[in-house]
Amino acid sequence: MPTVLILGATSDIGFAIARKFASEKYNVQLAARNTNSLQPFQSDIQIRYGVQCSLHSFNALDFNAHLSFYNSLVPKPDITVYVIGYLNDNEMVISDWEESLRTINTNYTGAVSILNIIAADYAAHKAGTIVGISSVAGNRGRQSNYIYGSAKSAFTSYLSGLRNKLYHDKVHVMTVLPGFVYTKMTEHLKLPPLLTASPEGVAEAIYNGVRTKRDVLYVKWFWKWIMLIITTIPESIFKKKKL
């Protein structure tokens, strides 16, 4: 049975992905900061889907521990999904350097740190799949969330470069741009239903994307066109918009 590693398993999207892969008979490795609170998730996956599920403590910001984290995984996962993300109010983030750093490191530096390690292992074995959940916020910087957006932008670029490099090593790298998703993180926002996916919808799309080896995946297809329009607006006009 193949194994999938979920980095950021406590999030709504992370756990939905775990359930989807488990329902397709993957063993699941759930990684999050606090593994105690993950015990119900573990029993749920084992009982519902009859697959193995293990819990692993992982902190995206504890870069020095990433190598030993990966070395401790038995077996090594066939698929790695980086779901970890951190979004806070932009005004708050820019006024507090610790928050800026936390936003950048959680969304970008932490991902680079762990995925460098995993990518090297996959390349050496000429097999594996890496899925990174980035964001359409990274397609163009906007005043309302440009710290988060720039970190996601960097992550998207990283995944693109990684895909290019690992293509020759038969390793599949997929960038996921979910658009709006109904999660705890967005529960206070009024989201347009047509543009908003459910965590289960994201999980379904990711599973299918992995199977069909997609490169860049927009969960709801019209986001691709929305972002195309947004990115083609000339900067001289864009800078005047309140976005």
Binding site: P40, R48, K184, E187, H188
Partner: protein
């Protein structure tokens, strides 16, 4: 913060509420701290206003299975999981829900809070009879594990207590052993009410029994019905094809009601036509067959959003129970309904077995449930029915109710005072509250 308009299954009443969710129990405490008045809400399948409040706490993400003893048939889960998901896990292992209502789209928390009953009430009681223990998170932030031995007052006030004691977070209950996922079904046509009541009596030994009754018929066919009886089928009851996979979970084939029907579609004539077809589809006096559990227990689940058939104004479901000796009351109410021509597709009739809990709805006697589309003259009409129900020592089901007057509740639920005392003890200041509880003067 985002507010949205929500309603339960009857689409009446509709109210603006701010919904909060949680995946971890610690997050419940945050929500409690941020709100002055909140009620837990599962899948919104109660009909009336029970799980509506200014703030609602959605349990749907709190849906993990914690433990399943395949040998002993013990199941433990968080409260937001729905029964359809549980069936997918337990049926292939040879187990079934000990009690199930007519829809599988309710949460376990809702099953406890409404203390739901099923077609086997006369044999197996209601859901609470199978609860071994549960966790209730109080408005103080403290979590108490309760059972018939531990904090029994909290336990009994939570079973059928409409979520007013606290947030039900974890439930452990026992399951029913099955050899196959099929039901050996018998349907008997009854010409009138007398006959169907006699048939209920004669067929008491059946585990499952319920009748669909045509409320609009008058004269000698007054109360004509189809009595449906069932037993879990054994291997020997299955045909060769069914035997290939005796514990099969039926695949999900659903059609959805895409929009609200205009209110004028439902009237005396269309309802009569529907009932004629429903009754007429059984040509023979008696039908015996083996069917999957799905059509037997959940015929309406095949149509998602069937509640939209009642139009935008919504509908009320009226369910009462009358003691066995009050057959006259049942006849009187059915006459009123038939004469008023208020139009219910079908009414569901069932004979309850013995039950004497603190605040649960069932008690020994006849229970009848019917739907009424919301119309101007409906409310005074139902108030009239309430009087008959009270006169015959009956009561109404809180999970269906959206309109009864407070005094009806206080007069018909004999333990209402004790119930209220326990709520005051565990939920001081009524930080956990619902518009139903206020309407019925339970929390004021």
């Amino acid at each position: 913060m985002m507010k949205k308009f929500i309603a339960n299954w009857g689409n009446f009443p509709v109210m603006e509420s701010e919904e909060k969710s949680f995946s971890f129990s610690e997050q419940i405490k945050d929500s409690l701290n941020q709100t002055d008045s909140i009620i837990a809400r599962g899948n919104g399948r109660c009909y009336g206003d029970a799980s509506l409040e200014k703030y609602t706490l959605s349990t749907l993400k709190y849906d993990k299975i914690l433990f399943f003893d395949v040998e002993q048939g013990i199941f433990e889960c968080q409260s937001g999981i729905t029964l359809d998901k549980i069936l997918e896990v337990i049926v292939p292992k040879g187990w079934f829900l000990p009690v199930t209502p007519g829809t599988k789209y309710i949460t376990v928390g809702g099953a406890v809070a409404s203390d739901v009953h099923g077609k086997n009430h006369h044999v197996d009681g209601s859901f609470s009879a199978h609860v071994l223990e549960m966790d209730v998170l109080l408005s103080t932030g403290e979590t108490l594990t309760c059972s018939t031995n531990q904090y029994p007052d909290l336990f009994w006030a939570t079973c059928g207590g409409m979520g007013l004691t606290g947030i039900i977070t974890r439930v452990k209950f026992d399951l029913k052993k099955i050899e196959t996922s099929y039901i050996r079904q018998k349907q008997i046509k009854a010409e009138n009410l007398e006959e169907v009541l006699r048939l209920f009596d004669e067929n008491q030994h059946y585990t499952y029994s319920v009748a669909w009754i045509d409320c609009l018929k008058k004269g000698k066919n007054f109360g004509r019905s189809i009595l449906m009886l069932g037993e879990h089928a054994g291997l020997q009851d299955l045909d060769a094809k069914q035997r290939m996979e005796p514990l099969k979970v039926p695949s999900k084939k659903q059609i959805s009601f895409p929009f609200n029907l205009p209110s004028f579609v439902l009237n005396q004539y269309t309802v009569k036509a529907f009932n004629f077809l429903f009754y007429g589809k059984n040509f023979k006096k008696e039908i015996n067959n083996v069917v999957s559990y799905e059509p037997f227990f959940y015929p309406l689940d095949a149509v998602l959003h069937w509640n939209r058939g009642y139009g935008k104004k919504g509908f009320l479901q009226y369910q009462f129970v009358l003691p066995l000796e009050s057959k006259q009351g049942l006849i009187e109410i059915l006459h009123r309904i038939s004469n008023a021509g208020m139009g219910s597709f079908l009414a569901v009739l069932k004979v309850f077995g013995e039950q004497n809990d603190l605040i649960s709805f069932p008690k020994k006697g006849y229970t009848l449930a019917l739907d009424f589309p919301v119309r101007n003259n409906l409310f005074p009409f139902l108030d009239e029915l309430d009087k008959i129900v009270m006169q015959y020592n009956g009561r109404l089901y809180l999970s269906k109710d959206a309109r009864m007057k407070a005094d009806v509740f206080w007069k018909s639920y004999e333990n209402a005072n004790k119930f209220q005392e326990i709520i005051k003890k565990y939920n001081p200041g009524f930080r956990i509250n619902s518009i139903q509880a206020r309407r019925l003067h339970i929390t004021q």
